[in-house]
């Protein structure tokens, strides 16, 4: 999960960021330690490629460090961070490079061995992952935030810089495309 489950006062990440904002390098280091794993996972789900995901996280961290002054005190760090991270991940150049052809849907998302491959018995999960790789990154990001993070349409809209209505469309098209790909794949076998 990319955010704390309960919103009760400033979360540790927000507190650390406020310290980093005042120039505390150690707080920034701690913050990076907390952000790295969940952010890499979200970027990975969005881009379907480890190298690009890692690059996006690093770029987002650079931006956060450089533009710390733009963060308004009293707000939560997470929505701000999510927006910066997804902006970096969905950057035009990176998005274009992450697109995989439909024919590749049968291949694993990442060239290396993944838990999906290791757990070969979970065939459906592997097929879902392969089908997801064929969806546009923006749809994948919306689906990951909705089904993985449990965010509302408005929160996803904030992260993707769009309206809740547009998010509804992204989710609906993503689901329909996934269903069509799985059915197509099932019939083809």
């Amino acid at each position: 999960m990319l955010r704390p489950a309960i919103d009760s006062g400033p979360d540790p990440e927000t507190l650390l960021f406020l310290k980093a904002q005042r120039g505390d390098a150690q707080a920034f280091r701690q913050l990076v330690g907390l952000l790295a794993a969940p952010s890499l996972a979200l970027a990975m789900r969005t881009l379907g490629n480890l190298a690009l995901a890692e690059e996006a996280v690093q770029e987002a961290l650079t931006k956060v460090w450089r533009e710390a002054g733009r963060f308004e005190e009293g707000r939560s760090f997470w929505p701000w961070w999510r927006r910066i991270l997804l902006n970096a991940a969905l950057d035009g150049r990176r998005r274009m490079r992450s697109v995989e052809p439909l024919e590749a849907a049968g291949d694993p998302v990442d060239p290396g061995p993944s838990p999906f491959e290791v757990a070969a018995e979970d065939e459906l999960a592997a097929r879902v992952a392969a089908a997801m790789a064929a969806l546009p990154p923006r749809q994948r990001a919306a689906l990951a935030l909705f089904h993985g993070e449990g965010l509302s349409m408005a929160e996803i809209g904030e992260a993707l810089g769009t309206s809740a209505k547009a998010v509804e469309g992204l989710l609906s098209r993503g689901r329909a495309a996934l269903k069509a790909l799985l059915e197509e794949d099932g019939e083809a076998r």
Binding site: V32, L61, E67, E123, V128
Partner: protein, 118 residues
Amino acid sequence: MSERERRTAQMDDMEISAALAHWAKAPVLDPAREAAAIARIVAHGDELASALPLPAATRRRRWWPMMAGGAVAASAALALLMAPPGPDVGTGATGAAPDMPEASFALLFTPTPDEEWY
């Protein structure tokens, strides 16, 4: 076509939701590759924190009082330049500060008694 494949060929909404939830929550990388990528990200964060003395925001804050002071000084100078003339300027009533350009002009074109004679 296996039984499982037949089932995915006719997935209902609940099954799609379950599959998506699994995709969105299951680990996406094997632990070794994930750990290596995280280590590189942490090293990048460390590099950022070490290379730059302070975030740009903090550096900007140092400029803030100077810029504010400059703005106040500029406003004060502008206000002085734009201020209307005081009651003793240009009226000629008090004689303290006569309107010199107008006085010179009058002297230049007013004929002296000798000039009037000719």
